[in-house]
Every structure is written in structure tokens, then in C-alpha cells.
Symmetry: C2
Subunit: 263 residues, 2 copies
């Protein structure tokens, strides 16, 4: 597979990027990491810095009032780049995607990046936000154990109705003329939407191994799983996933509870 | 001849914009409408076009494969503008916000729009997505009546923990130096994040009138409610809200059920 060429010369504006996120789990920060890793960008990550958690906590402290230009962030992941300190996962992804040549066809100006952004947002809705709520349907503030019955009910429904809906949607996108030759979602080239779909699916597979395995075996979503496999073969992604920088799944967005591992 | 080619005219940045959304309720389309109305933009809306629903259904039909450049949309709202057909509410808002001068300080280039985008995304998370899930915590595919007990449990928790969290966050943003003089969230000028916060709060007030009333009376979120009132006084918004174009709340994102109207 051909490597995507670097779209622009690295300039001082292109790095270094500072990712500010919890350590000890992939979480939403993982979407950002995969984009930075694929692009070979120069970045730091508080997950791997001693006392990095202090930086996260400082920026989301209720006493913090931003820095004059930047509002206080609501929650990590947070990206600092030059004068900009931004939060919200899809926001960071769009910002980086455009800078790192992963937001679609640049010859169309910024227009194509909105198509990529919409695909990323839908992948985040399905395979990150909705999957998270399968183990926290009542409250993010309560323990899982205190909403276990509701989680089981939601998970059964999600696996039966939403998992095929999202897989079916992305299979349709991959079969659409706008996808191009494949294996990618849009315009015949790798974009950050592909990386988001990969990570979302990887996390969903961790949470619902039986259901995702059954969907793969069913043969109805072959292009989605081919995309997943193609991301795994990207040399920089492969090296990243084998490195110590890739953290193990834990109590984050995607969680394994045997009673939720429904078919 | 100085005449521009037809395709270029169709792609004009000045509109007309075509909003493709369900009729009969404000829903997520309302965020888009408020932006277009405030800007005085030239737009059409399938909610007010005979057989407009057919256009919505055609674009989200499982047999639809996009148009060559644009992937098939996942769900409405959808915006068509020139060659671009995009979906996902925050994506449409960012696209329009930049074009219509509602995405922050343009003298900073596109950078400031990411700050506005993050505020809008957080307002959508809190006052649209999470509020919706208060009446559909188990499944979007089940009737409310089939998840009523879980809805009551979730609503009580949401009103107790998440409503003050989001209100407190935006109050903090409004008290931050990056907000400027007020009454707006960012940079001393109206942005689409203000309109999103207004609409989210308006819908949340419809769903949880007692709880929102109590929060207002508490005096802890005075700047948030001052922003809400200031949006109501924008001449174009005021005229819009008094017009027939503003649809009544119904069975959409925000719903009134007396048993969920908790304090």
C-alpha cells in the first residue's frame, strides 16, 4: 500500500502539538493520537509525562478561566498548538486533519473537509458516544454497578439495532462513488474519518467481541472490516499499536463486562 | 466577457442555502435555522415546502449512494449549498458560521472558529444530546413509554448533576477574559455558539421547566440567562420566533412529560 505523501512542508505552525489527556487508557484521546501518529507529527502527550495528570486537572479546574484568548476547556482531550488551546474531540480532529493533510481533497479548498468531518462525527456518535452509554445509560456520575440492569437492556438493543445501522451506513458510504477506489471512506485517499472509524470499531470490538465478531462473519460489512484491516497495515499505525505508547483498554469509553457481551 | 461560469455561480458563498429537515418540530434543524435567520441569509427549508419530507427521505434512503462527490447523509439536518451536501449538526453550523460571520474573530484567520466550534459542541452535548437521552436512555428505537422508568431515573440524575455542570461551565466561560465584555460567550461578539446555547437552553426549559426555572431563580447562572435574554432581543431572532416559521415543540429532541419535570 502506498504511503500518503506529506501534503505540505512542516513549518513552525505544524508542530509541536501538545495533547493533554488522561493516562492509563486510550479513551477519546486515542482518536487524536492515531491522527498524529499516522501523520508522523511532532507531539507530546501528558499520558506519558510524569505528573501529566496535573496539567489535565489544571485546565479543567473550576477555578480556571482560560488564558485571555482561549475559553476554559470543558473536558479533555485538549490540544495546545501555538496560541490555540482547544477541546472537544471532533474539533481537535478537524483542526489537525486539515493541517496534516488528512481532511480530504485540498484542491477543493476547505469544502471537502466538511464531508470528512461529517463521517468522523457519525463514527464518533456511533462507536464512541453510543457505545459508552451502553455501560452508563443512566448517569456518567454513577458506578456501572449501580446501572447494570439498564446497561444490559441498552446493550442488547444497541447490538441488535444500532450496531448494524452504523455498520450498514459505513458499508453504504464505502460502496458509494464518493468513496473512490477503496479501501477508504472518502475521495480515494486516507482521511482522519478512516482512523476514527478504525478506532471506534476497535473499541466496540473490545466491548462487544461476540457481536462484532458475528457481524464480521456475516459478510454484510466486508468493506468496513477491510478498511479496519487496511488501517492496521499502515506502517506508522502498525508501529504505534505495537509500541508502549498504545495504552490498554481499561475503564474508559469502551469497557468489557461479560454480562454486556451480548449477541 | 466578465460572466462567471455557471458552476462557479452555483458554488457562490452567498447562498441560497437549502436546509433539508423534518417539518412539524424544531429538532436539530432549529440550530441551523437560528444561524441562518440571525444572518438574514437566503435559504429554503423543506419543513415549509410541500412534500418536503420526500426530499429528506430520499437523501437518507438506504438505497441512496450520494452524488459522486458527497457521501450519502446519515441523518438530517442536511445542508445543500452549491456542490456541497453535508450533514451532522455541528458540521453544518461550522460551515455556515464561517461563511456568515458568526464564527468568531475573522482577523485571526480560521483559528478563532475552533474556539467557537468547541463551545457549540459542548452546548450540543449538554442541552441537545444528553437532554434527548433523558427520555430515550435505553433505545432511540423504542417508545418512551417502554423506557419510562429508566427515563425518570436518568432525568432525576441529569437535573441534579449535569444541568448545573453545564450551566456552571458556561457561566464560567462568560466570566472568563476570552468572553470579552458580554453578553456573549466569546470574543465580545455574537457567534453561533451563543445561538446554540440559546436554543439548547430553550429546549431544555421546555422539557424541564421546573428545574430550569429553579436554576434561573438561584442566581448562580445570571450571565447564562442574560445571554439567553439577549438572544431573544436580537431583532431578526425576535421576528423569527414570532413568525410561523418557528415551529412548536413536539416529539423531537426536547419533550415535555410531566413525570420527567423533576426538580
Amino acid at each position: 500500500m502506498a504511503e500518503a505523501p506529506a501534503k505540505r512542508q512542516m513549518s513552525s505552525k505544524e508542530g509541536p502539538y501538545e495533547l493533554i489527556y488522561w493516562g492509563g487508557m486510550p479513551g477519546r484521546g486515542e482518536f487524536v493520537r492515531l491522527l498524529l501518529e499516522e501523520a508522523g507529527a511532532d507531539y507530546t502527550d501528558t499520558a506519558h509525562i510524569e505528573n501529566g495528570v496535573k496539567e489535565v486537572l489544571g485546565l479543567i479546574d473550576e477555578g480556571y478561566k482560560g488564558d485571555g484568548d482561549n475559553p476554559p476547556p470543558f473536558a479533555p482531550p485538549i490540544l495546545r498548538h501555538g496560541d490555540l488551546v482547544i477541546n472537544q474531540t471532533p474539533n481537535i480532529l478537524l483542526y489537525l486533519g486539515r493541517r496534516l493533510g488528512l481532511a480530504g481533497n485540498e484542491s477543493e479548498g476547505e469544502g471537502d473537509s466538511y464531508r470528512v468531518n461529517e463521517l468522523a462525527l457519525t463514527a464518533l456518535d456511533g462507536f464512541s458516544n453510543e457505545v459508552h452509554d451502553c455501560h452508563h445509560p443512566i448517569s456518567t456520575g454513577l458506578y456501572y454497578e449501580d446501572q447494570k440492569e439498564e446497561s444490559i437492556r441498552r446493550s442488547k438493543d444497541w447490538v441488535a439495532t444500532r450496531l448494524p445501522k452504523f455498520l450498514g451506513y459505513f458499508e453504504r458510504v464505502l460502496n458509494s462513488p464518493s468513496a473512490g477506489k477503496g479501501p477508504w471512506l472518502h475521495g480515494g485517499q486516507l482521511t482522519y474519518a478512516d482512523l476514527v472509524l478504525f478506532q471506534g470499531l476497535d473499541g466496540t470490538k473490545f466491548q462487544f467481541p461476540k457481536a462484532v465478531g458475528k457481524c464480521r462473519a456475516a459478510g454484510k460489512y466486508d468493506k468496513v472490516f477491510a478498511l479496519y484491516d487496511a488501517v492496521l497495515e499502515r506502517p506508522k499505525i502498525k508501529a504505534y499499536l505495537e509500541s508502549e505508547r498504545r495504552q490498554k483498554y481499561s475503564l474508559c469509553i469502551w469497557r468489557y463486562y461479560s454480562e454486556l457481551d451480548v449477541e
